[in-house]
Symmetry: C2
Subunit: 470 residues, 2 copies
Amino acid sequence: MKSSNLDRLIDPRSVAVIGATEKPGRIGRIVFEQMLRHDGPVYPVNIREKEVLGRKAFARIEDVPGTIDLAVIAVNAKAAVDLAESCAVRGVAHVIVVAGGFSESGPEGRILEERLKQIPLKYPTRILGPNTIGIFVPYNRIDTIFVEHGDRALAGGGGVAFISQSGSVGTESLGLASNTGFGMRAFVGLGNKCDLSETDFLEYFGEDRSTTCLAFYTESLNDGREFLEKAREIARRKPIVVLKAGRTPAGACAVASHTGRLAGSDRVVSGAFRQFGVQRVYDDEELCDAAKTLAILSPAKGNRIALLTPAGGYGVMGADHVALPKQRVPLLMASLCENTRGKIRAMAVPYAAVNNPVDLTASANDRLMAEVLQVILEDPGVDIVVCTAFFSPASITDRLVHEIARCAEQSPKPVIVFTQYGPFTDRYLRRFHRRGVVGFPSIGRAVRAARFLVERAQILKSLEMPDDAA
Amino acid sequence: MKSSNLDRLIDPRSVAVIGATEKPGRIGRIVFEQMLRHDGPVYPVNIREKEVLGRKAFARIEDVPGTIDLAVIAVNAKAAVDLAESCAVRGVAHVIVVAGGFSESGPEGRILEERLKQIPLKYPTRILGPNTIGIFVPYNRIDTIFVEHGDRALAGGGGVAFISQSGSVGTESLGLASNTGFGMRAFVGLGNKCDLSETDFLEYFGEDRSTTCLAFYTESLNDGREFLEKAREIARRKPIVVLKAGRTPAGACAVASHTGRLAGSDRVVSGAFRQFGVQRVYDDEELCDAAKTLAILSPAKGNRIALLTPAGGYGVMGADHVALPKQRVPLLMASLCENTRGKIRAMAVPYAAVNNPVDLTASANDRLMAEVLQVILEDPGVDIVVCTAFFSPASITDRLVHEIARCAEQSPKPVIVFTQYGPFTDRYLRRFHRRGVVGFPSIGRAVRAARFLVERAQILKSLEMPDDAA
């Protein structure tokens, strides 16, 4: 494998869009229009149009002046191969080939993809794709993604590097996640991986200081061993979460028809992931939840969970989720010490429950919630607190967001919020997110998030051991 | 148990609100104001206020003229007991006691609740509560629920009777469910169940023609055997879903401190549920999903699932969810017959996948999606179709909702939609809901919904057998 300095792909200065056009609805139009928000020079390349959206168009990539860091090729498969070669000859550092119709589409496409594959072998140019939805890097306004992908402002401003073999899975699940606040560093759609693969981006974002968690959706790894070796090294510094689809025989068959690749034995994959420090998830929702949690919160010191709630029912369901049998990462209900219980008893109404789960009842107010949260966080027998934040009781106000956030930022222990508020649920989740608090709209997802933090601590511990013992 | 004709509770004509007040934020204000939307007479009862929101107030329940079907008592626990007795003496048919501070709060509260319990033993009056969030019946605008509970318009207009021991769990999860369209017949918060319990409402909504599914959240059943016997009878006509929390020892402890009751052995509960035709779920989200699905869609003829998608990744994940091992209700990936595959091949682009999962690729348009859905529904080897509906591809428009709805309503086989569209996901789910199509924002939840329909068919089959063989 070539060395992967992908700086000029993820953070390019000059960009050319080949197939840029004014025709509405065309991919070349969408990509070019989006790229105009970028600070550096952006050149339209189109053999038929003289001008695109007020910018002088170039007939060929060879005509574009100066260095080109990135060329996005937004034309059909056949034309794209020749144009990619022109880019390589011209010295373009990185090429994104958007078109489908390659190896996923049958014998003819396979031949086209084989030709594309040869280019990076002959030139220093690296290719992302083909059949890729592109890249989206909020911090520098690089966005080649030509389908709706959620509110950009909500998705950005965080530490998750999200690398997805499937464009749809990536953009759709991120779009949904962004509704409740997510925090993305960069999104990469890998497509058919004729050149750049998971391992290249693992390496790149592993080095990137602002990336605090790497999340992958993959159906097949090109170079499993290399990926895992690299992952073990990076997992010492930051968490890596992988959704490996095609885990059942039925799913594996579907992988074959989707990508033309074999998915590999699922049990082998699971065992290897654990050994190499990779956290495995099984669903796009779980992938987003894990990434959001691990990007923000520290690994837990232990697996003892305390639940705080103003609604008894969620204490019960939460305890059920904590004590779920046969989990890869078992959790325990923390035993609160007498000192903690005494303090809560002194603050709460007489009929509050002062054992874990702590149920302050619907009479709780913002202040009491925060004070009790504080007391629970100080209990030496507690590793993580899952706090139910409700806004419907009369004595609870919007200030609860601030009160919880303040406790959470002052404590070394992770605090995870569960909140539901009918049509306003997402709005409150975004408010928590803006204050750096990780929150979810179901108690099950909140407790699952705690599991990721405990697993992360276990991984860090196992990776501290010498390599041959791990 | 007394006979449960709850018509005058669920569909009352005349209502009194005891503790009705103009003071903002008070429960008595919220309940009274909401009840004013009801068609029949609504009387404020308040010993201190002469008039409440323009209506003449009565000092005592005895002063209110005519028959009273329902009195909502919105004052503190101590006062509530005496007032409930006055209502019983006055001949009020049903009383809702809102206040907490009864058996859930300690020895004093237990004594109060014991006094409350005596009332329905001496008088024909039935009591809902205490410590209940009340009832919400969209079709007749009866709403005593004093906390935010989602958009009423979205939650109504359907066949789900939702009966919840915990008020918060009920209202919060319904509030969230209503964001994507739900379809509720009635909501009942049971509270401490000093009189009316799950079994009463099981019986009532079992008989109610417009109720198409019963959903329960419960932590402990007062009369398990009676509930189950009744359930078996009703399950022959309509589906019953139960979320029984407190399934783990930790959860059971939490139940004890929440309600002062014991939760019962979890394995015994599971076995009994299955035998008596009850579908068990484990999470508030799952409860809402199951109820929404079973209220609208018919039981499946078999367990063979076909997946249709314009995005390969979701085909893969969907197949994984279908083939998930160790499920209570196993599903199979349907084998499409050659005739079906030939027809799809003739319609789709050459690189589409014509085996199950059928992947039409991002080039699909509304028409093609509908035509292929139609062809798949006609395949004799398919029992249920899970259809991914995406709106981001350029050739797909909002009309897809209509196209899918038309196919779905013309087919005897269930169609379940999975859709995601970033910030617009809920909006599209509501559109599908308005057209009678059941949809979910994750492929995992969509496939899980198929499982409920297969389980429902299994239950109907097992209940057809003579009782002693069941």
